[in-house]
Symmetry: C2
């Protein structure tokens, strides 16, 4: 008998199944109203357009759509993305783009090419769980910067940058899990600091296109170029995007936009990881997006998610106890609730499931604290279900607060 525990690499000691994905399995009972996932609404997938694009892809490209392609990605799609990212004075070229298998792979590959064991990472608290899991094997040292309603408190950054950290990781738009957005003023301040300290930031932007209120804010990628007085993508930002939230996650397609020297290393890491992303998915995504369809489609997603966000915010006002606080996101898929500090949202989840409603406890997103928080997804539930699910949670929370007052 092989004793596999003797064989596994030391780094697998850290490995445990992601809490979110395990909860997702438990919450698939139809009677549970789940705000736990991060799933886009499947009823919005543009099935007809995808069917047609697939027909075009197979008719016009034939076997090419099924053959090996380059690790960098299909040039049509890279060019389309480069043009789309060329905004606010930034000019992106094909050499700045790598197609990856979803933004999660962007994070994984960035880790492979930039992180050494024990490196110093600066992050917001709370932060994206999937990054924490992917980068856990590197035994990173964390500098944790708090956030408020305007995102990362950049005033707290300079002291940390003096220590020459390897990398900053941020989700500046409608962050997962809080839904908060880094303000324009703080972005300018941040970019100035990046230049002053020659620091590098990973700008993870899966939700940027999904804005429901307020004005769009230029990306760090764009502001970095502007700060340099340049149009070239050759600065301090490594940018990750994805088709998962604007088209369909089942295609597993995302992209990295970065200085060509970084793309070059990422290409080599990707070659080892999986050779390339699906040729068929890439050609399909290009055929779906090419003639402006995607902008109309994103507008349609925005309308539906905006309503769901508004329904959730109104239901929270109506049903939640006065002791609860929550973020009010201008976009994205999530908001976050804070309970009085003596309550533990992981403990409460068991009772919530008894009430046929689910969320994700905030603990795993936090480097420090957060046991009293939980994340709610509003993109993947019908308004009626949002109202009813929040009502159930409200009843539970009020009961708990009667029995366990602060």
């Amino acid at each position: 008998m092989v004793n596999w525990n003797d064989k596994f690499a030391a780094r697998t000691a850290y490995m445990r199944r992601s809490t979110i994905r395990e909860i997702l399995k438990l919450t698939q009972r139809p009677e549970v109203i789940s705000f736990a996932g991060g799933l886009p609404a499947p009823e919005l997938f543009p099935l007809e357009r995808i069917r047609e694009a697939m027909r075009v892809a197979l008719d016009n490209r034939g076997a090419e759509a099924l053959q090996y392609s380059t690790t960098e990605g299909c040039n049509d799609l890279r060019d389309w993305l480069a043009a789309r990212l060329s905004r606010n004075g930034l000019r992106v070229t094909r050499e700045n783009i790598l197609i990856v298998s979803g933004a999660q792979q962007a994070i994984d590959l960035v880790g492979r090419v930039l992180l050494n064991d024990g490196d110093h990472l600066v992050l917001e608290n709370p932060t994206y769980l999937g990054m924490l899991v992917a980068w856990r094997p590197y035994n990173l040292r964390f500098s944790v910067i708090p956030t408020d309603a305007d995102g990362l408190v950049v005033d707290r950054l300079e002291t940390v940058l003096r220590q020459n950290p390897k990398l900053l990781y941020l989700v500046p738009n409608f962050q997962n899990p809080q839904g908060v957005t880094l303000s324009y003023e703080r972005r300018l301040q941040l970019v100035k600091l990046l230049h002053e300290y020659d620091a590098v930031v990973v700008e993870d932007n899966p939700y940027g296109e999904l804005r429901y209120s307020g004005e769009p804010i230029p990306s760090l990628l764009e502001l970095d170029a502007r700060h340099r007085g340049s149009t070239a993508l050759d600065g301090h930002v490594i940018y990750a995007g994805t088709f998962s939230k604007i088209l369909a996650p089942g295609l597993r397609l995302g992209w990295v936009a970065a200085p060509a020297a970084v793309i070059d290393k990422l290409v080599q890491a990707k070659q080892s990881a999986d050779l390339q992303s699906s040729t068929l998915s890439q050609i399909l995504a290009y055929e779906v997006c090419r003639d402006g369809f995607i902008d109309g489609h994103i507008e349609r997603i925005r309308r539906v998610y905006r309503e769901r966000r508004d329904v959730m915010l109104a239901a929270l006002e109506r049903h939640f106890p006065a002791e609860a606080r929550w973020s009010k996101p201008d976009g994205g898929l999530f908001l976050m609730v804070s309970l009085p500090e003596h309550l533990d949202s992981t403990e409460l989840l068991k009772e919530a499931l008894n009430h046929q409603v689910a969320y994700v406890p905030g603990t795993d997103f936090h480097i420090e604290g957060g046991n009293n928080t939980f994340r709610l997804n509003f993109s993947n539930a019908q308004p009626d279900n949002i109202e009813e699910g929040i009502r159930r949670l409200g009843v539970l929370l009020k009961t708990v607060l009667v029995h366990q007052p602060a």
Copy 2:
């Protein structure tokens, strides 16, 4: 300015673009007859069937085909693979199967969960380049076992197994680059040794279905179960397979079959790497394969590749100088040529390209030696081109041998 070379992780010092993939770019000029790639013949992709399967997938599954799914893979496809692998007394279940993004990802994930820095790996010489590249960051110590016409010389293994290596890596069927196959007797001998020393082998089997002559030989996975007197997949073998060579590589779909404890760790590694493989590709592959279509399709591939292999072997006899030797594979995509030892196939490649013909030099596949060897692919060229390409190479080699006799 960011000095990226200061930022890159130490492990990227090893990174260089794969020679094969770089050469592939150079050989895409239409006038070059290239035996360099490892591409399946695109004219054999079952376009009509794929078109129909895509229609069924989108009609019957709808949004499910485009949504997130589980990291493990779609159950229909896992069950189909489990049934297919249940042969020769072995019974594979869904829990033994992980769907991955091509066999390259299988290699990458196995490295992540099993390899520590400096671990001891046993491999055949020459071996698969993509494995060497993927596992280079682990600074492995190699024990290199020679091969002959019957594959790995297993007699040379026992001394090495006494040192308790972490892992063996083998391509037992129609190996890349040589095309040789590990004989039945040696497989029995190998499995016995695995049990004696509690050793673990990665059986990488991308070409196993593509046999053109001789009798099929049970896999190490099957023989390992038989040796244990068990039907369960719970032994010493981690098996990797792929749809790339029997269906289409552009789907990026492969699988790992392994003890459930290993699959469990691999699932967690895959979650960090890319969450899951494309839902659409998985459902498509299942719809293509489900009712026995794939067996007829594989038979069709076999017929075409068998002819190409035969044409290449005949052309080699006809055109190559007496000083050259080459392997005579019973299947797969490749054979390997050995020149007199004083010739360097990397140097010769430049002249070959001047003669409008390309191959892959053997050096990178070898841990030791091999500078006088090169790999020829016969699956992705028409018989006429095989004849003409081998003729061109033969002319070159004869000229070189006149000017540089041994």
